[in-house]
């Protein structure tokens, strides 16, 4: 009985000693700063920074391969914390939010067919989508599934909606959309041209009630000259010039331009 205790005890001591030596010998050098940076990152592993997850970004920042403000969802708060860990002056991140550049819901752009199959926008895109519009939202919600922050949902009318308060601007939805309908816009910009269709006006009118018909009224009415025509058939807004005046939204005959100030005011009244 005693032999067994002694033998096991001795074996335990010897192997313990070996393990202790091995731990010394093969110790992985870990920069404490990486651990520190990782602890302040949001931990969503969204991939918006372009590095493999938050730990990848932490290592990259530590090695100087990424700036301190590379974490877009973290915003200024995280950027400042990382800057203080790294001991450099922080640069401000311009907060961005995702915008769905399509208003073609079930009421405005009817589905021409029913769809049975893989419920993924990429699959549906290979069949050309259900609406007449070859550029608009496909409506199966791949962006909603891709959002790591729960900041999107599908409206009953079949369009994804961004919850601005929750959106961090990581861009996961932008990458998930096979039709490039979603884009990132500066969070303080309130006027958006919500159409991606490059078709000519008469064609657009056939399939969507809220599509840009390239009338150019917005281009002419913009006091800041922030709107121009892309490929002659789609109005595009240059956010760096836009001052949120919203005149274009009042001129647009098809209401393809939305002034969020108006809708927000409306929401407060109701």
């Amino acid at each position: 009985m005693l032999d067994a205790f002694l033998a096991l005890g001795a074996a335990g001591l010897i192997f313990g000693g070996i393990l202790a030596l091995a731990a010394q010998k093969f110790k992985v050098e870990e920069d404490p700063r990486v651990v520190e940076i990782l602890s302040v990152l949001p931990g969503a592993n969204c991939g918006a920074c372009g590095f493999p997850g938050c730990s990848g970004l932490a290592a990259a920042i530590n090695e100087g391969q990424a700036p301190c403000n590379a974490c877009i969802p973290g915003g200024n708060v995280v950027a400042e914390k990382i800057a203080s860990i790294m001991g450099v002056a922080g640069e401000a991140v311009e907060p961005m939010v995702a915008v769905v550049y399509c208003q073609g819901d079930h009421d405005r752009a009817e589905n021409l067919a029913e769809y049975h199959g893989v419920m993924d926008c990429h699959a549906l895109n290979q069949l050309g989508g259900l609406k007449g519009c070859p550029y608009g939202c496909l409506g199966l919600g791949s962006c909603v599934n891709a959002c790591p922050f729960g900041a999107m949902y599908m409206s009953p009318q079949g369009l994804p909606v961004v919850i601005k308060e929750k959106c961090t601007g990581c861009g996961a939805c932008v990458r998930a959309c096979p039709r490039n309908v979603i884009g990132l816009a500066p969070a303080d910009k309130k006027v958006h041209i919500l159409c991606r269709s490059y078709d000519k006006g008469p064609q657009v009118r056939k399939y969507c009630k809220a599509g840009c018909i390239a009338c150019q009224l917005c281009v002419r009415s913009c006091p800041q000259k922030a709107i121009s025509m892309d490929r002659k058939t789609l109005a595009k807004i240059d956010y760096s010039l836009c001052d949120n005046c919203g005149i274009c939204a009042t001129k647009c005959p098809v209401k393809a331009i939305v002034d969020e100030k108006q809708s927000e005011a409306g929401r407060q009244v109701s």
Partner: protein
């Protein structure tokens, strides 16, 4: 004549050829507008040589091929070029540049067509090859691979056998069947011309045994030539797949992509392609029309039409007596591989062998259930792949793993989806993964 029963994988499908196989090929007529995509084929889109408002005549060149793997495009009838603008491409399922021709109804022939030739002896192999390129000939079986490329195999790959593909294994479609029945002489002539062009001595005509009348007429027509054999294959889907046909008839296995039939010394051409080549040699007319079966339980009079390339689907369905009741689904091509269309405004392209209209009841979908790991999809896969795993990984976005299961070798025949007892859209997942892998490879090549 040899008879072949065995096949690796495959499924027994209801053929449904009876609907249209008895109706002779008729000219469909000239519609109000023709839409001719610059990209009708595999390879680079052709380059337009006309401008809006140009007057064109039947057979006149509209677009020149760009590069080696590309094909020319010709005006199917006389009229005016209305516009060159993007239209919705039914096969590529996206906007694609197209030449819109407004016919004038006169159907005038272009004066400078290449001269007609009376017989095979009076045309050289080189001239046939050049002609295949000039007339914009592509494989009319569906894939639309430029025929001129096929007729010029690489020097280091000796070709010993030429297969004429008359299997037509897709259910419903009877375009090739009618051609073999009505124009057997021309089909064989075109086949001999392709053999001459590529310098191949041995030619085998392959037909499924569910077309006994076509076998008889082809037998009669081929007796005028020597060096031709006939292979009758049991009807099983996808018998007419190029690789499946080579394996069944010659026992050779085409290596996985980028392997081509060239690698095992074989060229395969479709019956419709041979016919179009014969037509071009004998009359000088380029590829401006093709036989299209408009069939299915959803049309009043299932028919086979000689339709101008670019004819709208709506026009052809009207010619076939219109819909019976409310249609459930309209498919470009056959039910196994053809893509469904959401609008009837899309035109016939060079690769369109049929337009299939299914009724509401036929198109109704059963709910998709979880995979029960029965392995039936593996049994029926003619490529020896494992659709169960490829689709499962694709479904979860694990693209590298799907690639590891060789998802790129899938020919998208649809046998797995057809046989799946849980009604899972296996091919759709596989196609998603394939598209993702292709786009990643393209991005890599660019960077």
């Amino acid at each position: 004549m040899i008879t072949i029963k065995k096949m690796f994988g495959g499924v027994a499908v209801p053929h449904k050829k009876g609907l249209s196989e008895k109706s002779p090929v008729e000219f469909a007529g000239i519609p109000g507008e023709l839409v001719l995509f610059l990209s009708q084929h595999i390879g680079a889109p052709s380059v337009s040589t006309v401008k809006p408002k140009d007057a064109v005549k039947r057979g006149q060149v509209l677009a020149e091929p760009r590069g080696f793997v590309s094909a020319a495009l010709h005006a199917p009838t006389s009229g005016v070029v209305k516009a060159i603008e993007p239209r919705f491409h039914p096969v590529q399922a996206r906007m694609s540049e197209a030449i819109i021709v407004e016919p004038d109804g006169k159907h005038e022939l272009f004066e400078q067509l290449s001269p007609a030739v009376s017989g095979l002896d009076s045309i050289s192999a080189e001239r046939i090859k050049a002609l295949a390129r000039e007339i914009g000939l592509v494989g009319l079986g569906g894939a639309a691979f430029p025929t001129a490329v096929k007729l010029a195999p690489p020097e280091d790959k000796p070709i010993d056998t030429y297969l004429l593909n008359g299997a037509e294994c897709e259910p419903y479609i009877t375009a090739d069947h009618r051609l073999m029945l009505e124009e057997a002489g021309k089909v064989i002539f075109g086949f001999k011309a392709s053999m001459k062009a590529s310098g191949v001595k041995r030619g085998i005509i392959c037909i499924e045994d569910n077309k006994p009348d076509a076998i008889e007429s082809m037998k009669e027509a081929m007796s005028a030539y020597d060096g031709l054999e006939l292979a009758v294959l049991s009807a099983r889907y996808p018998r007419g797949g190029e690789k499946q046909l080579i394996q069944a008839v010659l026992g050779r296995e085409v290596p996985p992509p980028p392997g081509l039939p060239f690698d095992v010394g074989v060229i395969v051409s479709n019956v419709g392609t041979a016919y179009a080549l014969a037509d071009a040699i004998l009359t000088g007319l380029p590829l401006v029309e093709r036989v299209v079966s408009v069939t299915g339980e959803g049309v009043a009079n299932p028919s086979n039409f000689r339709a101008l390339i670019g004819t709208p689907v709506s026009y052809l369905i009207e010619k076939a007596g219109g819909f019976t009741g409310t249609p459930g689904k309209v498919v470009m091509g056959g039910p196994m591989m053809g893509p469904a269309v959401k609008s009837l405004d899309v035109p016939v392209v060079k690769g369109t062998s049929g337009i299939l209209v299914l009724t509401k009841e036929q198109a109704a979908q059963e709910p998709v259930l979880p995979c029960i790991r029965c392995g039936k999809c593996i049994d029926v896969c003619p490529m020896g792949l494992q659709p169960v795993w490829m689709s499962a990984y694709a479904e979860r976005g694990l693209i590298e793993e799907a690639e590891g299961y060789r998802v790129m070798d899938c020919c998208e025949c649809g046998a797995c989806t057809f046989t799946c007892p849980a009604k899972r859209p296996l091919v759709q997942w596989i196609r998603m993964a394939k598209a993702e892998i292709s786009s990643r490879r393209n991005a890599q090549r660019k960077s």
